[in-house]
Amino acid sequence: MNAMVKAENVHKSFGHVEVLKGIDLEVEQGEVFCLIGPSGSGKSTFLRCINHLEKVNAGRLYVDGELVGYRQKGDKLYELKDTEVALKRRDIGMVFQRFNLFPHMTALENVMEAPVQVKGESKAAARERAGSLLERVGLADKAGNYPSQLSGGQQQRVAIARALAMEPKLMLFDEPTSALDPELVGDVLDVMRDLAESGMTMIVVTHEMGFAREVGDSLVFMDGGVVVESGNPRDVLTDPQHERTKSFLSKVL
């Protein structure tokens, strides 16, 4: 199987509210996969299902050929233990809309934390790698700063470096630029573009249509918990086929 992420009829409800109503999609290895849609359409929820921050209610979700959150034996599903879930999450990096950096640690310590605490890497090795990751996102000079001393764009780039420190095979971006001043969006997108060029598989929930068009390999438009339209970003964004897609794009473009 070549697909990095494969969703088959994925359903998710919060109480009586059904947020995902049967999602089918495939994300190939090395692909930049963009999810767009109005708020409340379920795109962030779907993203969170991929690393099991949310439990899927029905359907199957696979990452790198393995079922997310469960183990299948014959016809029966067994829930994975917390430690097994944590083990799988190591390979999936996630970047949040609100950055969620650890405020009591410096930028460097934020990036070092997971390799040292989760992988058991030596502090010296982790520090060196964290330093070069911060350099990669253009923040080598901010290593000793606390998140509160950084701008939003800088915080988000530290968050990307923190996720990369675990050397993931898949990166999830949950509206990474939505909480940023327009001026700062470019720096973060540059880092993401750079990451895409290095061959990382990326799933990006975004409102940045320009980024989706330039960098994206595939694009899915979601609304009301279903996939309305999907295809090549340039095709979908310039020539949408569905009425719903047309009306959404006419408002955001």
Binding site: P103, H104, A114, Q117, V118, P147, A163
Partner: protein
């Protein structure tokens, strides 16, 4: 700078600064009056005590008495040990209360309800009198003894104060844990950190900022509450002081003496709390106020600077 000004002619000199206003300030007669009343009341109290038959000399005489110093040591020991039980128990109870397991969370709720809802003096007496209920303590192969030998006054005081404190600390810790943004837990989990590691490395250090100030309060409270354990035959500062008072006849004087010692100890604890709060405030966006030592250093520098300029 001065050289530049000299080069320019008198016409080029910048316009004179506007003349400072010299006005008659508003007289706050109310302030004079309230200050006078407060001073008069204070004077009256001091005068009254000066009139009383207080043998002030007794205070310095017994201030460093070995029994008093021993009592201070016992008070501090009890405070530290009881707070240790309180903090560890409190964190445990807070985590239990916030857990998804309904049994552990109900038990924690019940514990807090019971220990917070009954007076600590009653709890002390209950621990003290448990010997009427149990004849022996029998922990299987580990430990076996007669109850009266096992339950020393120190253990009575420690359990009474510590277990009571745990109930209060549990609520303080719970508030601290809830104050940490959920995104922090999510980010830690997304990095592959386990529940316990997330709690230890990410949530607790941030919760400490909320937990430390009220905990400092609790320590100071505990230090004073230890005076209650005189009731269960534990010899700490107040008990030793009153004993001296009865044997020497300086009953009231030793109370002043004990009060002074309590003040000294609480003052030292307040200083410790100040520095602990600074430590856990690291990474916060607010600029920290300088420590007294930093202020002294800054003042020394600012005193020197005008001389250099001249």
């Amino acid at each position: 700078m001065t050289v530049d000004i000299d080069k320019k002619g008198p016409e080029d000199t910048p316009p004179q600064a506007p003349q400072a206003i010299k006005a008659v300030p508003v007289r706050h007669y109310g302030r004079y009056l309230s200050a006078f009343i407060a001073l008069a009341a204070l004077g009256a109290i001091v005068f009254a005590f000066a009139q009383g038959e207080i043998n002030w000399d007794a205070i310095p005489e017994y201030f460093f008495d070995s029994r008093i110093l021993g009592g201070v040591r016992e008070t501090l020991l009890l405070t530290v040990c009881a707070m240790l039980i309180g903090v560890v128990g409190g964190i445990l109870l807070a985590v239990m209360r916030l857990s998804k397991n309904p049994v552990t969370s109900s038990i924690a709720w019940f514990y807090i309800w019971f220990f917070r809802g009954t007076p600590v003096l009653v709890q002390l007496f209950v621990w003290f009198n448990l010997g009427f209920v149990f004849e022996y303590i029998n922990l299987g192969p580990v430990y076996k003894d007669e109850w009266s030998d096992f339950m020393t006054p120190f253990l009575t005081a420690l359990l009474g104060l510590g277990l009571n404190e745990a109930a209060y600390m549990a609520e303080i810790c719970r508030a601290g844990l809830l104050a940490v943004d959920e995104g922090q837990t999510e980010a830690a989990h997304a990095l592959g950190m386990s529940h316990s590691k997330t709690l230890r490395r990410v949530v607790l250090p941030q919760a400490m900022r909320v937990i430390v100030p009220p905990t400092g309060n609790e320590v100071i409270n505990m230090l004073k509450t230890t005076s209650l354990v005189a009731a269960v035959q534990y010899y700490e500062l107040l008990k030793n002081a009153t004993d001296i008072g009865q044997s020497s006849g300086a009953t009231v004087e030793v109370l002043f003496l004990a009060a002074t010692w309590y003040l000294i100890m609480t003052s030292i604890l307040s200083v410790g709390q100040y520095y602990l709060e600074r430590y856990y405030a690291r990474g916060s966006s607010r600029q920290l106020p300088p420590t007294p030592w930093q202020k002294v250093k800054a003042n020394m520098l600012s005193l020197r600077r005008p001389e250099v300029a001249r």
